[in-house]
């Protein structure tokens, strides 16, 4: 346990001494802020139009959760698809390149301690990233009347989604010593999982259901709606555990060759 925290601690510190962390955080907040501002402006416009038309039924259906928070979370999830690979690409690939991999593997550490330490470090960074966007939700709660429960469920979903991304990023970083390859293969995997359900409607019943089940977006969308279902939690849990398991095998594979 102690070793996991040692490695995670070093990892998170190394993120913050390199400019990557600040560039990624700034970019994430900049884009997030831009989305938030525009969604809010659009909401405000709709509110003005429907108030002028004195259409109470439509006004009833206009709410912050559906018109601001949900699209904001979906947009943030797409930015994470692009930014998480940049965060995780270094984790193991750079160690291999710099030779510090030899230090880790010749120390009395278990491989799962290395993998979990790396995972925890990247997870903490992503958690900080997601948490900073919580300021948008706070603004809404402070000045408007959204449903906090739904927002919390959505943010929990975003965190789970990001954690799955991190686990996949760790896996792609473990198979290469080239950071670009690690980042690109992570990005491609995440995008594929993101859009894999596109042909679901025309793919026949069974195949459609399978594609939908595999899609990250489907499960995430449920949580954004405020529904925390065991089925979705199991899905994210499976992705994370499977990716970490494969990372473990990949790191261990040096001992088979």
């Amino acid at each position: 346990m102690r070793n996991i925290f040692t490695i995670a601690g070093r990892e998170i510190r190394s993120y913050f001494v390199s400019p990557i962390a600040y560039v990624v955080l700034t970019g994430f907040l900049l884009l997030g802020g831009w989305f938030f501002f525009n969604l809010l402006a659009r909401f405000n416009m709709l509110l003005t139009i429907y108030s002028a038309q004195q259409n109470p039924q439509v006004l009833e259906r206009l709410n912050l959760n559906e018109f601001v928070v949900a699209p904001l979370l979906h947009n943030l999830s797409i930015i994470l698809v692009i930014l998480v690979p940049v965060i995780t690409m270094r984790s193991l690939a750079e160690e291999k390149k710099a030779g510090t991999y030899e230090l880790l593997l010749t120390s009395p550490l278990h491989i799962w301690e290395i993998v979990l330490g790396k995972f925890l470090g990247a997870f903490l960074f992503i958690a900080i990233m997601v948490a900073t966007t919580g300021v948008y939700a706070l603004i809404l709660v402070f000045y408007g009347n959204p449903e906090p429960g739904v927002i919390l469920a959505g943010y929990f979903g975003l965190l789970l989604l990001a954690t799955s991304f991190v686990a996949i990023g760790l896996l792609t970083s473990s198979v290469t010593e080239n950071q670009i390859i690690a980042a690109v293969s992570c990005l491609v995997t995440l995008l594929l999982l993101y859009i894999i359900a596109w042909p679901a409607d025309s793919a026949g019943e069974t195949m459609g259901a399978i594609l939908k089940y595999m899609s990250l977006t489907e499960h995430f969308a449920q949580m954004v709606k405020g529904v925390i279902d065991t089925k979705d939690l199991v899905y994210f849990g499976t992705v994370i555990v499977l990716a970490l398991f494969l990372t473990h095998r990949s790191v261990e594979s040096i001992r088979w060759r």
């Binding site: 040692t6 510190r13 190394s14 030779g99 010749t106 120390s107 009395p108 001992r255 060759r257």
Partner: protein
């Protein structure tokens, strides 16, 4: 203290190391020599538990490298050819990190860090980033890392490569100082260095041991350089003759 028996490492069809055996006793400095590509680094990586061997055994401090890998890794200090440094860390925090992952008790870490910083002459750079240090200081930081948990066995893969003559002398003096109770395996291309500090010499060529001899008896048959060139040439001829024979058959 250190015993290598019939160690073989294959990558597919190519054998990096073929059936090598040698040993070193406690407190001995063993010079591990051979041309580039002879299999020195591979052997050292096997001894330190980084790579598995295809066959054969190796024992370090009484523990088997393959079945008791964790015990071996606890007792071995390893300086790879490129010092394994995190360039964004300071010398001090790096050594603290290494001490922790080597499994040292929390209350002994600070003393150990101070000790190796003093031993390796890193006082003036202890708060500097490793990435900003000169080659010589990086090498010392790498050595400090290998020493931090006070291991009974030290494996040093070309610790003087790329250093200037003064730094080479400093590292040599340091290695000599470190010997004492420790067993040290030192791989290098600088032969005078070996004749000065090593008590035993193992020369490997194309993955095979071509010489294992005590320094004292070796010196009787000429300088180390002569001996080195002679055994390598002999091994080369033998291997060459072998291939000719094989192609005739």
């Amino acid at each position: 203290m250190l015993e290598v028996r019939n160690l073989t490492k294959r990558y597919g069809d190519i054998a990096a190391v073929r059936d090598i055996s040698f040993s070193a006793t406690q407190g001995q400095i063993l010079g591990f020599l051979g041309p580039n590509g002879a299999g020195k680094t591979t052997t050292m990586r096997i001894l330190t538990g980084f790579l598995p061997a295809t066959s054969g055994t190796a024992k370090v401090a009484g523990f088997d490298v393959f079945t008791e890998s964790a015990e071996v890794r606890r007792r071995i200090g390893y300086l790879p050819e490129n010092p394994p440094l995190y360039t964004e860390m300071t010398a001090e925090s790096y050594l603290r990190f290494v001490a922790r992952i080597k499994g040292m008790a929390r209350n002994t870490i600070e003393d150990a860090v101070d000790r190796v910083i003093e031993t390796c002459g890193l006082e003036s750079v202890r708060r500097r980033l490793l990435g900003q240090l000169s080659k010589g200081y990086r090498q010392r930081a790498g050595l400090a890392q290998a020493l931090i948990h006070d291991p009974p066995v030290l494996v040093l893969d070309e610790p003087t490569i790329g250093l200037d003559p003064i730094q080479i002398r400093e590292i040599r003096a340091l290695v000599q100082k470190l010997a004492g109770e420790r067993t040290i395996i030192l791989s290098t291309h600088i032969l005078p260095e070996v004749s000065q500090i090593c008590e035993k010499v193992v020369i490997i060529n194309e993955g095979q041991v071509v010489l294992e001899q005590d320094m004292a008896s070796l010196k009787a048959s000429g300088t180390l350089e002569d001996v080195f060139l002679r055994v390598i040439a002999k091994a080369h001829d033998a291997n060459h003759a072998h291939t000719v024979e094989a192609s005739v058959v």
